[in-house]
């Protein structure tokens, strides 16, 4: 019988608790504090599905949309995420391209994830007027096609440039509505659809500065200065599942190859520094980077925060679930082992005793070999 210890990869953790990669240093309120907002949202959708008249009303409401824009090559391009009102717009995220038009800019946004597909164009009038960003101004819908036909609306926006001025983050806030005609062409609503979450990890500065945005989601007297460019977004997450850690709700994340490599680089260069966890554009907690995340796939992290278990399940449901893991504690594996020289085949049994993330420890048993029985020949000197 032999002892087996397997190490596939480290299971680094983001979040609070002993041995975690990140320790939460600015917890916000009690567990479940964010629940009322999301309960209201879910309840609102449920009510809408139950009321017949609701289905025929043109969607309208308030949205918040955030973009990541690169200014290195023209035309400027980037990606966007709808952090509020995705169910109204029928889109969660996509890409865009900017076209200058005199003193204004036309931004054509193409939805790549959501109930609706197609594009719509918004006109921006950036000004140096006072506001939360480096540039601020109004925006309005000027053209809409495909599933977005009949879309109208507008509001205000601001853009914050990163330190080097090569990238920036725009925030669009406003009200939109679809025309009655658009409702006829709208895709059928998906019943019991859970609103997806938008998850981001951002480095946090020690004070105000270029490339940083002040966030007061943890409390009005507790400003946090988060980098405008996130380290990790939904696009970097391959799988997720809701779980618990240190008796707190948590979400276990598995990153894509590029996401794991990015997080590896960032964590190795920023050990001891804070990183913010944002859910739906709001800062949920700030934690300290304890150690470098293992480079390459399967990069993993466990995030805990100020969310309830239901909220953890909602975040996890945004991403595909990992395939079922059969390497469970107390599982028994049986079969055959073979060796080349001398050629030999023998029964082999593996018993899994312990499991920590992607590590396991167990024993293998070769019932017909070893144990001092003469004639049993495996890996003996020959």
């Amino acid at each position: 019988m032999q002892s087996v210890r397997q190490s596939v990869s480290e299971y680094a953790r983001l979040g609070r608790g002993r041995g975690s990669l990140l320790d939460v240093v600015s917890p916000k309120g009690e567990e479940g504090e964010m629940m009322p907002q999301h309960s209201w949202l879910v309840a609102g959708i449920a009510t809408c599905l139950l009321v017949t008249a609701c289905a025929s009303s043109p969607p309208k409401g308030r949205i918040t949309l955030m973009t990541q824009i690169s200014f290195t090559t023209e035309p400027y391009r980037g990606t966007f995420a709808v952090t509020k009102g995705a169910e109204v717009l029928g889109c969660e995220r996509g890409s865009f391209v900017d076209t200058p038009a005199g003193t204004t800019i036309h931004k054509e946004l193409t939805c790549e994830s959501g109930e609706r597909s197609g594009s719509f164009t918004a006109k921006f009038n950036p000004q140096d007027a006072a506001g939360p960003g480096d540039r601020n101004g109004p925006w309005s819908i000027v053209e809409a096609a495909d599933d977005f036909s009949g879309l109208d609306g507008g509001g205000d926006f601001w853009v914050v440039f990163d330190e080097d001025g090569k990238t920036g983050v725009e925030t669009l806030r406003g009200d939109i509505q679809f025309s009655s005609e658009a409702v006829k062409a709208a895709p059928a609503p998906t019943l019991a659809r859970t609103p997806k979450a938008w998850l981001e990890l951002r480095l946090v500065g020690s004070g105000p500065g270029p490339g940083l945005s002040e966030m007061r989601d943890l409390g009005p007297s507790q400003p946090v200065y988060a980098r405008n460019i996130p380290v990790i977004t939904n696009a970097d997450i391959a799988h997720a599942r809701a779980t618990r850690y240190a008796d707190a709700p948590a979400v276990a994340l598995a990153f894509t190859k590029s996401g794991a490599n990015t997080l590896c680089d960032v964590t190795s260069a920023n050990i001891g520094k804070p990183m913010g966890v944002l859910v739906d554009g709001k800062l949920d907690n700030v934690a300290t980077i304890r150690e470098r995340l293992t480079c390459g796939p399967p990069g993993r992290a466990l995030i805990t925060g100020n969310f309830s278990h239901d909220e953890a399940k909602r975040i996890a449901a945004t991403f595909p679930a990992e395939p079922a893991d059969p390497l469970k504690i107390n599982s028994v594996w049986q079969g055959t082992g073979r060796q080349s020289e001398p050629a030999l085949s023998y029964p082999m049994i593996l018993f899994v005793q312990q499991r920590w993330g992607d590590e396991f420890e167990g024993v293998t048993w070769y019932p017909t070999l070893g144990n001092g029985r003469p004639g049993g020949s495996r890996r003996a000197a020959w």
């Binding site: 059969p326 028994v332 070999l369 003469p374 003996a380």
Partner: protein, 61 residues
């Protein structure tokens, strides 16, 4: 894909008259829904000769 090594021999003693198991085999195996299938190697610490190994295990419970 998983990799693992047999680090320690609990039973068995390798000797000319009392053959047994030696530790040190290293495996790379593909983990399926119900199977663990892969290859491994074991190097004789004295002669440095390498034996190639294969395993095919099924989940029993």
């Amino acid at each position: 894909m998983v990799t693992f090594s047999e680090d320690e021999v609990i039973f068995g003693e390798a000797a000319e008259q009392r053959l047994g198991i030696l530790a040190g085999a290293k495996y790379t195996a593909k983990l399926g829904k119900m199977t663990l299938k892969g290859n491994g190697e074991w190097m004789d610490p004295k002669t440095k000769e390498v034996a190639t190994l294969t395993i095919l295990l099924k989940l029993a419970e």
